[in-house]
């Protein structure tokens, strides 16, 4: 198995096979993440496509990165927020036209929170997760589903390494209690 850093360098040199390797390796995790954030599979699919399309178009300008997955997850996160903003603009325009008055939509951040708390309700543990704040939930998701390191999660969410660790401690503490009961 070729090292991810080498694949990344090959992509920067314009090798389309490298793009395919990265795509196939990270597709599942990135799509799950995008769907989780947007709560919509169509948007999720589009986000992943856009991210890799941009990756290819800008391959000459891509930086050297310490972690390729951190770079990709972060790109997916930003693209999802952009996409949701666009959708919101479209619907805001529609609301404006149809009613003559503008109904103030939720902010994107609030919306993400609302979407995220809707997830994971089925089982006891899922209930407990839903009680965590959205950032804690996202950290759990990135760590346990996507197996990213604390350093990578800190890069993706653009928060301090220590914050990730603290949040994780608090979250596990809360979840542990739930599972015991």
């Amino acid at each position: 198995m070729e090292a991810t850093a080498e694949i990344w360098d090959a992509l920067r040199a314009g090798n389309v096979n490298a793009l395919e390797k990265l795509f196939r390796k990270y597709f599942d995790g990135l799509l799950s993440y995008a769907i989780r954030l947007s709560q919509n599979e169509i948007i999720g699919q589009e986000v992943v496509q856009e991210v890799f399309l941009k990756l290819w178009e800008t391959h000459k300008r891509l930086p050297k990165v310490s972690s390729v997955p951190a770079f990709l997850y972060r790109a997916v996160r930003n693209q999802t927020i952009d996409e949701l903003r666009n959708q919101q603009k479209k619907s805001a325009r529609f609301v404006e036209i149809s009613n003559g008055t503008l109904v103030h939509p939720f902010s994107i951040e609030e919306d993400l929170i609302a979407r995220e708390t809707e997830v994971f309700r089925r089982q006891q543990l899922q209930k407990a997760i839903s009680l965590l704040n959205p950032l804690q939930q996202e950290i759990i998701f990135l760590r346990f589903y996507n197996q990213l390191s604390y350093q990578e999660i800190a890069e993706i969410l653009d928060i301090k390494y220590q914050t990730v660790r603290n949040y994780m401690s608090q979250s596990i503490g809360k979840l542990k209690k739930k599972i015991k009961k």
């Binding site: 795509f23 597709f27 799950s32 589009e46 399309l53 542990k176 015991k180």
Partner: protein, 326 residues
């Protein structure tokens, strides 16, 4: 690795990368280490088991999308290849040659083109070489190529106006797609019934049964489900189709009825102009904003106007080439 004494709680284990890798790999990697750890510190076994249980629970519920990777990659590849490349000077000569060939091709196409046009206030039924039928609404035109209807050659038609399509199914092969070119939009069909509107660079597709694929410019294609409608806006397609609230709104014209679904009078006026070629004038511009829902008979113009007068409680006067609503 921390000092074993440091592992006091579930948190301590779960936050440890080494332990995490062991648990995530279903006790695959680092197994020897953690087995002997448990042998050495039997007091920690209960905590370890609890930590593993939590880890397993958290790992569940991950829905995999890995099966979609190949399809999505092919789509991405197509998008990458579709990006226009910069022209180079040496390509100029080749371009001119291609242009010449195209114009030759164009005249060939003109010679081979067949077309049917419906006049104002009249429908026309067209039976295509493959047995598909098309009911043209008033003031519409359908064209196709005469000698390109053999199996496997693809079926291409061009629509200007509005029509209800009933397409014969030949095979599931993409070569047997029935493709309607409507302005900037392409509708690809295997076998199905749908209504297509294409006037003033506006398209609207309503699917009654079967499945159609819509594409426009370089945008990703969209598949319509029965009962859904999709309308374009200034040459760009929305990301999603919507459920048609009143299906008859798109199809009742084939039975000589017009259905309005919260339609305002200026939209109805546009429909009259499209189908009968008559301009509508409003004596009082306030009337324009009135909204109507309902179905009216439209066997001919007089019947339609009579029905509209009753439905809207207005007077309609016909004067040469225009109608006056008051």
């Amino acid at each position: 690795m921390k000092d074993p004494v440091m592992y006091q709680s579930v948190e301590d284990f779960l936050e440890d990368d080494h332990f995490f890798e062991w648990g995530m790999s279903d006790q695959g990697s680092h197994n020897e280490f953690w087995q002997s750890f448990q042998d050495q510190y039997p007091g920690k076994v209960a905590i370890i088991e609890e930590a593993l249980l939590l880890l397993q629970e958290l790992k569940l519920e991950q829905s995999s999308h890995a099966d979609k990777a190949s399809q999505s990659w092919e789509k991405l590849q197509a998008r990458i290849n579709r990006k226009p490349k910069k022209p180079y000077p040496w390509l100029l000569a080749a371009s001119i040659t291609i242009l010449l060939m195209l114009s030759v091709g164009f005249s060939w196409w003109m010679i081979n083109a067949e077309s049917v046009k419906s006049g104002y206030g009249a429908m026309k039924e067209v039976i295509l070489p493959d047995g598909s039928t098309v009911l043209l609404r008033a003031n519409s035109e359908l064209s196709w190529k005469k000698n390109a209807w053999k199996k496997g050659e693809g079926r291409h038609v061009w629509l200007d106006g509005e029509a209800y399509f009933n397409v014969m199914h030949l095979s599931n092969s993409p070569e047997d797609y029935f493709i309607v070119h409507a302005g900037e939009m392409n509708v690809s069909v295997l076998g199905t019934s749908f209504n297509l509107f294409n006037r003033r660079n506006e398209q609207s597709v309503f699917l009654e049964e079967g499945s159609v694929q819509l594409s426009m410019n370089d945008e990703a294609p969209l598949i319509l489900q029965p009962g859904e409608v999709l309308s374009t806006e200034k040459g760009s397609m929305p990301d999603q189709a919507r459920k048609a609230t009143t299906p008859s709104f798109y199809t009742s014209w084939t039975q000589h009825k017009w259905t309005f679904d919260a339609s305002d009078l200026s939209t109805i006026a546009q429909q009259i102009k499209d189908n009968y070629g008559l301009e509508v004038e409003f004596e009082d511009s306030m009337i324009k904003n009135r909204v109507v829902t309902g179905t009216v008979p439209a066997n001919n113009l007089d019947v339609l106007l009579e029905a509209l007068q009753v439905l809207l409680d207005i007077d309609i006067v016909k004067e040469k080439e225009r109608l006056i609503f008051s």
